[in-house]
């Protein structure tokens, strides 16, 4: 606290130097506009790119890198050196210091106060992120905007973000019947449990998240379901994320699942990805929401998915994607 107080006292500068409250409720002061940024939070890394500040990144943790050639090309266009910047989620402090960052964006869960106070010893400010909900993602975008001096753009992006969320929820609010949706996690029989963002997306998109009622395993976000439980639930839609060990084929071939409505009606889907998986907290979650709403209730949002995707990457990342290429990703 004392150090913070002194920092406020002595380092206050006209534009920067105002305390910013991060997502762990800490006050952080940046003496000047950062020129070198390290992000150790997957979501925050994409937000930095979204704010057009990719050139400021000197090191970044990406929870996953794009596997689609189209997305990899697009990212290469945004930042040709992104592969050199990749960091592990918990780099050593000295590896961080060696990058000489002006600010480190970190996870309040994975890194927390412990890393922040250690970096404080070498006078590197740390901002902690916790964007695990939709409002949390909006907050993270605005926070990063403030930190990087790009508040205007951040506000505009959040506006677009809210816009899409509002369009989706308005479109799906009254839609019935609401299908029972099973969001698999890392394997077919692990379902996202509790209030994780995947279940929030299902509800907003007009579905019933089957895993929501379960308590997640300690330290994890999912719970295991036994075969009988699956038959009792009888999911009508099954979602499989790209990072899962399971794939739609798993469900179509494993005998346990053959009696399930979703398998019989062939409503087992890969949850899409582009830069990151669309169900992982970050700006692209809003596209995941839109895609899911259009998948559960086609036509409900009144938006054209492909056009919205092209528009999103142009608005958020300045990446110009060809309409046909994107349409091909969705088999259209």
């Amino acid at each position: 606290m004392m150090r913070l107080f002194l920092a406020v006292l002595f380092l206050a500068a006209p534009v920067f130097g105002q305390p910013v409250v991060d997502q762990a409720g800490r006050e952080v002061v940046l003496p000047r506009a950062p020129q070198r940024v390290v992000s150790l939070h997957g979501g925050a890394s994409w937000i930095v790119y979204a704010l057009g500040a990719g050139d400021l990144l000197v090191g970044a943790y990406f929870a996953s890198l794009p596997s689609l050639p189209l997305a990899a090309d697009a990212l290469g266009g945004l930042d040709p050196r992104y592969r050199d910047k990749e960091l592990p989620v918990k780099p050593t402090v000295e590896a961080l210091v060696a990058l000489r960052p002006d600010v480190v964006l970190a996870s309040s869960v994975v890194h927390g106060e412990s890393l922040a106070s250690l970096l404080g010893e070498v006078r590197i400010p740390t901002v902690l992120y916790y964007p695990e909900t939709l409002p949390g993602i909006e907050e993270a975008i605005l926070l990063t905007g403030k930190l990087l001096g790009r508040e205007e753009r951040a506000t505009a992006l959040v506006g677009r973000f809210r816009d899409i969320v509002a369009r989706v929820s308005a479109g799906t609010e009254k839609r019935t019947p609401r299908p029972r949706v099973y969001f698999a996690a890392y394997t077919a029989q692990n379902v996202y449990a509790g209030d994780v963002i995947q279940n929030v997306l299902i509800e907003l998109a007009g579905g019933i998240p089957l895993g929501k009622a379960l308590a997640p395993r300690p330290g994890l976000f999912w719970q295991r379901v036994d075969p009988e439980g699956i038959l009792v639930w009888d999911p009508e839609v099954i979602l499989v994320p790209v990072y899962s060990r399971a794939s739609p084929t798993t469900f179509f071939t494993d005998p346990i699942w053959q009696g399930v409505t979703a398998v019989r009606t062939k409503r087992v889907y890969r949850f899409p990805e582009f830069f990151a998986a669309w169900d992982i907290p970050g700006p692209e979650v809003v596209l995941g929401l839109l895609w899911l709403a259009e998948t559960l209730h086609p036509g409900s949002t009144g938006l054209d998915l492909v056009s919205e995707v092209v528009r999103f990457y142009e608005e958020f990342y300045g990446a110009k994607l060809a309409h046909n290429d994107v349409a091909a990703l969705f088999g259209r």
């Binding site: 918990k90 050593t92 000295e94 590896a95 210091v97 997640p216 300690p218 330290g219």
Partner: protein
Amino acid sequence: MRRPTFAWGVLLLPLPVVFLALMVGRYPISPGEVWAALTGGEVAEVVRALVLRIRLPRVGAAALVGANLAVAGAVYQGVFRNPLVEGRLLGVSSGAGLGAALAFLLYRQPVVVQAFAFTGGIAGVALTSLLGWAFGAGVLVLVIAGVLVDSFLSAVLGIVKYAADPLGTLPAITYWLLGGLSGVRAPDLLPLGIASAIGLSFFLLFRWRVNLLTLADQEAEALGVRVRVTRFLVVGMGTLLVASAVSVSGIVSWVGLLVPHAARAVVGPDYARLLPAAAGVGAALVVVLDTVARTALTAEIPLGVLTGLLGAPLFLVLFLRFLRERGGWR
């Protein structure tokens, strides 16, 4: 004492190791710069901060953690007359884990977590001792009480984890339990330093009399040792060492078990020589391993993983040697 100077020589082993460890890191700093930073010479501000405020506290903590775990392990092996025990025998780690978990639930500042972990560790052993004392303070009873308390506190820790916020507090608890010294800062060293100074200097003075506690209770009584009181004090001091180490490093396996045997292989079982040697070997070993943990990869390698990788095979070698020497297990 046949080789006293040798054992004390081992106690000095950490000094060069610590100095070498200060030279090594992901951030390139030349030995000359390290020296300048240590002696207050002319050097870039970031280099000085790195050496004095990042590397030095961490290396110091590693040395103290290693010495504490090794000395406590050696002492516990004698007091409990069992070469397979270590300092965590009496519920100190589950107590510390529970304390840390509660601190994460209530208030997440690292200092508070450390204080809670330390208190929890002491409380765990106190509970064990209370149970053991109630049933006669025999060695076996204490060990059984330790197993009971350990499993009970682990269950309570399970409840706390279950109650914790799965998106925030819970992962923090899990990361803490994994252990390691990556977050150590100079202020964290103060309580560890005080506890280590008390515990280590006690054992370095008391070291010869630890021999007497390896005797059967009646044998020791016949030699004028007040066994219950002495054992209580020695276990208390051992707990101070382990709890203070665990509260900073989390669970670091094997050191408390392995280092005493390694030191015995060099200087023999006499505690008068063993304890200085164990302190030296323990400190040097953990400093070396932690240096690997923080420099081998860009990412931090959990210290417990390294000690485990090294510990199991090395222990097998030492233990086979021990068995051969004793001519079998019984």
